[in-house]
Symmetry: C2
Subunit: 329 residues, 2 copies
DNA sequence: GGCGCGAGCCGGAACGTTCCGGCAACTCAG
DNA sequence: CTGAGTTGCCGGAACGTTCCGGCTCGCGCC
């Protein structure tokens, strides 16, 4: 009903009986303002429902108010990246930042107008990633960038250690010959999985049995890899699947091979997806907590942007093992 | 290496030998500018890689450069909304707009600073939706808002008709007694499914058999509903699952009931999700094309914002049937 | 009493864009 | 030849914020 007049910092200042400069200082906690004045301004701003105009702020600060986000284009099985993206967006929103998705199909050679970049699982050899990494912009990667020099910030998870814990768990459930399906070393994550597996096998005196599939892991190649591993003699008694969603696709192969998941073949996934808990039997997985990972990346980027964090910072993002019936039979 | 000086419209104007006003007019196609001058300015801008400063533009235009987006908080099975959101974000980006996700946990009672709203599947009774709908803001909903007056724009799909086509398909595959699991009428989509089913049954002289589950369709309730339907006498020979992801959860129930999906029980999903094609057997689904739906919503909102579309506009978003082994056995 | 100093506050400019009003130069009817 | 209308272009103000520099007190010190 009532005509809506936008409430700017001047409205607040007038109402509080101070100048716009003082109001601004009071609200942002900068400058020299008495505690009393600050309290007054804050209260008035609250009363009026004042929300700073992001455009004006960013214009003044010569920042764009936007961060760029790139994730590998994995068509199916993308629930991990979906959650990751949401985590970034959510965290960016609390800093009044917006997120621009950078797709591989970007026709402009120019880097987009952004204050910084978040790169989820940068793959060595990805032309978009290479270009973005060489741009002079604050950059945070989720997992290390295997090629060349690193980013200004890295959020990483102890994948190798967690694979070790997963293999311990399989051993405790009776497995003696675990096999691994994993992506190539162009992603740091897959390389870590691979390394963790080899290390554990060496430490436990177990021969390795792995098959490599592409990072985007098409269903047929995953199934073929599983078949090969299951047909080998001596046959494995446990199967660890690296790529997201691969484990559920392997289930029919297991059945076709006359094995039963959770009974005479333990099955685990290195990426928890909605399908894992719903599979029959539910599949033990490593929960990478993608949403929190995305948020952590955004947070680190903002810390870098405002100087709270130093370039070269690495932060650890904890992940969790979710034991389910496929390994606890 | 070279010091980067930001290229503004003044840079372009100077280089083209015109004033900033003329440069602005030429680039935006407004005002009175000779074709020759316009071409020159365009070329110079291209050469310099000029990108308009969004903050300045929005500040001047008194727009926020942001649209708000709300989708129901469906914790699992969210791949539909994930894609939907991406569609909105992608389409918004080409209009230099950003997207703010509005979560139900919004602590501020005030409506956020946005130029417009996109509401995906507004549920009647959702307090956030009710609040947003009553705000004086251009609003587009995906599917109609069952309660109260409609939004300024609606993007809708012919769900009822498509259910009819799906049932035709089941009948052609031999089904005589199709049953339905569907969400309640608080969402327009579920109501349409329900209505399409009843209409088809009436037209084909078939008795109806339905079970209602909550919109967020927890797995156990979906399974219970499926069990009830399968246990009924005479038993259905086809099962249509409304809620996203429900069909895959029903599979174990079907097996446990001694039926075989695709053989003596046809199974179909009203929402195609990544899991449907990967299930065993692959499940016939209705592809709602969520990404395109999101893009369509954003597009309609922008058309409303700049006057290209009139308030009250409804646009149809086409959907597609994906027949798979679960009904073509 | 004069002076320096810091605390508290403020005016004005700037960020890059859009848009209103205006100013020349040209066209053309009368 | 004159005056009105049109075309092409331009200067300046405004959007809401931040921040630089400066102002005015009051206080304490010599």
């Amino acid at each position: 009903m009532r005509e809506e007049e936008p409430v700017t910092i001047i409205t607040v200042a007038k109402r509080a009986g101070v100048s716009k400069t003082t109001a601004s200082d009071a609200l942002r906690g900068s400058g020299r303002v008495s505690a009393e004045t600050r309290a007054t301004v804050m209260r008035v701003a609250e009363d009026l429902g004042y929300v700073p105009n992001g455009s004006a702020r960013h214009l003044r600060r010569a920042s764009t108010g936007t961060i760029g986000l790139h994730v590998p284009e994995v068509l199916t099985r993308s629930s991990y990246y979906m959650s990751f993206v949401f985590g970034v967006v959510e965290r960016a929103a609390v800093n009044d930042y917006d997120v621009t998705l950078i797709t591989s199909g970007e026709r402009r050679a120019r880097t987009p107008r952004v204050d910084g970049l978040v790169l989820g699982d940068p793959l060595v050899g990805d032309p978009v990633v290479e270009r973005l990494m060489s741009a002079r912009l604050p950059t945070v990667t989720c997992e290390r960038f295997p090629g060349g020099r690193g980013a200004d910030g890295v959020v990483l998870s102890p994948h190798a250690d967690m694979v070790g814990r997963l293999l311990d768990h399989l051993r405790d459930s009776g497995a003696r010959r675990p096999a691994l399906i994993v992506a190539g070393d162009e992603s740091d994550w897959a390389a870590e999985l691979h390394q963790g597996y080899r290390r554990w096998c060496r430490a436990n005196g177990v021969p390795t049995a792995t098959r490599t599939v592409p990072f985007d892991a098409p269903a047929d190649q995953v199934r073929a890899a599983a078949r090969e591993l299951l047909d080998a003699r001596p046959a494995p008694d446990a199967l660890v699947c690296g790529p997201a969603g691969a484990a559920t696709e392997v289930l029919p192969v297991v059945r076709a091979a006359g094995r039963e998941a959770g009974r005479d073949l333990l099955l685990a996934s290195c990426v928890d997806t909605p399908g894992m808990a719903l599979a029959d039997p539910p599949i033990t997985s490593i929960d990478l907590r993608p949403r929190e990972a995305g948020a952590a990346c955004a947070e680190l980027l903002f810390d870098l942007l405002n100087g709270t964090a130093q370039p070269g910072t690495e932060r650890v993002h904890p992940i969790e093992l979710r034991p389910r019936a496929s390994t606890t039979g």
